[in-house]
């Protein structure tokens, strides 16, 4: 019999476990982002498409996915380094002041290659715009700015939702094929 692990934390851990398994076995994973550490590049609810890659493929500026303590995190690589004798990636959320503990090869899962927001495809290949850099700088230093940005985003998504022309899945597939 299974032992019952009924808590919310346990269920979330199981979902992360399954997601990691899907990514490692199929090479790709799509999931909905949560949290505000990457605004304005990634908002809660954005669909991220990740390709399974080794840590050696990560470059500064890439948004990468890693797993630690039964949670997934997609942050930007700020530096590729050697950590305790192993290749590691130093990552940080765009809207967070401090860098994360370096990500090891075991924790590293892949690189975010596409993002769909409110039915629209966002190009991640381009470097962040000046406006984006300014917003993330301000969000790093003020929770009020973060809350304002989130509110504006919700409003824009609501106004733009009627313009969605075809399903998000197809948009990500389209990006993948080009």
């Amino acid at each position: 019999m299974t032992t019952h692990e009924g808590s919310t934390e346990d269920r979330e851990a199981l979902k992360v476990d399954l997601a990691v398994e899907v990514l490692r076995s199929s090479g790709k994973l799509q999931f909905a982002a949560r949290g505000t550490s990457m605004i304005p590049v990634i908002f809660p609810g954005d669909i991220l498409a990740v390709r399974h890659q080794p840590i050696a493929a990560a470059q500064p500026g890439d948004i990468v996915l890693w797993s630690r303590n039964a949670r997934l995190c997609a942050h930007r690589v700020v530096q590729c380094a050697n950590f305790e004798g192993q290749t590691a990636a130093v990552t940080r959320g765009d809207a967070v002041r401090d860098a994360d503990t370096p990500v090891t090869a075991d924790e590293f899962l892949g690189i975010v290659y596409a993002l769909v927001r409110c039915g629209k495809q966002i190009d991640l290949a381009r470097p962040p715009s000046t406006a984006s850099l300014v917003i993330s700088y301000l969000a790093r230093h003020s929770d009020i700015v973060t809350a304002l940005v989130l509110r504006c985003h919700s409003l824009l998504c609501f106004l733009g939702s009627s313009e969605q022309s075809f399903p998000q899945q197809e948009k990500i597939d389209l990006l993948e094929s080009t």
């Binding site: 019999m1 299974t2 032992t3 019952h4 692990e5 009924g6 346990d10 269920r11 199981l14 979902k15 476990d17 399954l18 398994e21 909905a32 669909i47 399903p167 998000q168 899945q169």
Partner: protein, 279 residues
């Protein structure tokens, strides 16, 4: 002759059939099937005998347009949503269902297999919205509790159903109906039969254990991890829709289910003693 056949329909009067509507209630979700054609109504009545409830207020109403007789299709059904309207499509049927008006339309040939498919899709969508699902599994009630036996074709769903002792009420040998009611999972009988070619009993009960079937040289129950259980469960859930939000709900439901209900592997050989392990 046709009238006599119609009058023999259990629970349905000639007046009901004059309107051409039969309400089929599976899993506590009544669906009105308005076919217009008395012969097709009689077919519905025979196929879903035991699940017809003329007094139930329909959760949704399907209007049927009968096409010339054709063969059931082997292709996968395509199910998609545009706004509040679901579209189901396969070689042998087309259907749409407006979730706001709770009305739908089906065009199919008058064969029961296409109708089964339309109903399964409609139920899978309704269940997904509320945290339930249809599962490739036999299920049965014993001592007031439900037991599910899941596996792909050939795993032994029909075999375990055939081996059931007399004190067991069979809910289905093919498609199990799982709902989450007040934080408790319940299994319901369905008329969807597999090789046994016998509809399940219209009963329901709280789910005690989900077993994943493996045929082997002896009967034994083996533990499995929650992750293995979730993986196997996801593989056996019937779900047809290409819809991100509903897929998320089904995924959440599967994780919730394996975190709440006992799940184990049941290795069994083809003898009745396997049921001694199912208590």
């Amino acid at each position: 002759m046709r009238t006599a056949e119609v009058q023999s329909c259990a629970g349905v009067t000639v007046a009901d059939l004059a309107g051409g509507a039969v309400t089929v209630e599976i899993g506590g979700i009544p669906i009105s099937l308005n076919a217009g054609d008395p012969e097709f109504c009689a077919l519905i009545d025979r196929r879903y005998a035991g699940f017809i409830n003329p007094d139930a207020k329909p959760h949704l109403e399907f209007e049927f347009e009968l096409a010339p007789a054709g063969e059931p299709s082997d292709e996968d059904a395509r199910v998609s949503r545009k706004g509040p309207v679901w579209f189901f499509h396969r070689g042998d049927f087309q259907a749409k269902w407006d979730t706001q008006s709770r009305r739908g339309w089906v065009r199919q040939s008058p064969n029961p297999y296409s109708l089964d498919s339309v109903l399964r899709i409609a139920h899978s969508l309704a269940l997904a919205e509320e945290g339930g699902f249809l599962l490739h599994a036999a299920s049965a009630m014993r001592n007031g509790r439900a037991f599910l036996f899941s596996g792909v074709s050939g795993a032994g769903k029909t075999t375990i159903a055939r081996l059931a002792p007399p004190d067991v009420n069979l809910l289905t040998d093919e498609i199990s109906y799982v709902r989450c009611c007040d934080s408790q999972y319940r299994a319901y009988g369905t008329p969807f039969a597999g090789e046994l070619a016998r509809p399940g009993e219209n009963l329901s009960g709280p789910i005690e254990t989900l077993y994943f079937l493996v045929q082997g040289p002896e009967n034994r129950v083996e533990p499995i991890t929650t992750k293995q259980a979730a993986r196997k469960l996801l593989r056996n859930i019937l779900f047809f829709a290409h819809d991100r939000e509903l897929v998320r709900k089904v995924f959440d439901a599967a994780v919730q289910f394996v975190s709440t209900v006992n799940v184990a592997k049941l290795v069994f050989t083809r003898d009745r003693q396997v049921w001694e392990l199912v208590q």
